[in-house]
């Protein structure tokens, strides 16, 4: 029994280590944190940002695995939703950049000067697609 327990604990720790380091590696490749520091000119705060990511990941897993819930009023979900959206948006933007989509597209069709308009197609498309998903595609509330 004790051996079984110890083994399960060890297995859990190993799985957590693998997922956690993978997550951090993914974040590092996308370079969202350096980008935010560059925009806000807070290079010195990097340790604090690292801890924000670590604590966020731990809080997320505690909250989701232990079925823990707080009882804030409903509008408290608005800033949290916006923050989640901005984070996912930055990840999506970072991914398109890693894939080198825009430079090649702009070069091929020769619209170097209109690239911002093309980028807005991307941004507005993401917003429209997401709203469509939640308001209509996903069943949607009965208005």
């Amino acid at each position: 029994m004790t051996i079984k327990l110890l083994f399960v604990m060890f297995l859990g720790l190993a799985a957590g280590l693998a997922v956690g380091s993978g997550y951090v590696a993914f974040l590092a490749v996308l370079g969202i944190i350096p980008r935010l520091m560059q925009l806000s000119k807070t290079m010195g705060m990097i340790v604090a940002y690292e801890w924000a990511v670590i604590l966020g990941a731990v809080a997320g897993s505690v909250g989701s695995l232990w079925n823990y819930s707080l009882s804030f009023p409903a509008f408290a979900a608005i800033p949290v939703g916006a923050a989640c959206g901005i984070f996912v948006g930055m990840m999506a933007a970072a991914l398109t950049e890693v894939l080198n989509v825009f430079p090649i597209l702009a070069k091929r069709i020769g619209v170097d000067d209109k690239i911002i308009i093309l980028m807005m197609a991307f941004v507005l498309g993401k917003i429209a697609g997401s709203l469509f998903h939640w308001l209509y595609f996903d069943g949607g509330p009965s208005f």
């Binding site: 925009l39 949290v80 948006g89 430079p103 069709i109 998903h133």
Partner: protein, 204 residues
Amino acid sequence: MENTIYLRMYHKIQVNPDKVVYVKDLAQVIADEKNCHKILNLPVYKVSKKDQNFVVIDAMQVINKISQVINGANVQMIGPAESIVEIVFQKKKVSLPLFILIWMLLFLGAALTIIYFHEDVSMGAAQRRIYKMITGIEEEHPLLFQIPYSIGLGAGMILFFNHFFRKRINEEPSPMEVEMFNYQQDLDRYVIMHEKDEGKNNLS
């Protein structure tokens, strides 16, 4: 030494077809006054139809021309060893319907991929869970979370690219501009290696 000539090639120049390229188009030159004028107006290369888009002019060609005119010239090279001459033909305009087509393609593609992503990672279930974690209410459609999320999605992309439509958030180049610059540099390096005349192989 009064005969020392300092030469710095430009990295890249753009010319019209059928133009004669002079030293002054290709390089910055420092030399004593009477030589300087003579050097700057030396023709180096005549662009012709068969050159297509790019010609690479090596510093050796320029030095060769200079030493034909000035005896015992001591040429000091600074900077790049060659410049790329890009021959710019009539700039082709992208037609508006094609542009709108591409715009719609990107717009709908972006919309579809975000739905794919949400379905792939079970975003709906995760959001219901987060909503319950915050408010304690089981809600099938937590729109108070989902609508700010959707708008934040766009805001995050704009933040990352540092462009708010035409306006910049600050002076730094956006990652995309850096990426375009890197891509252009790679292309230039390729052109230098492949267009240079002495790059021909000597296999028999």
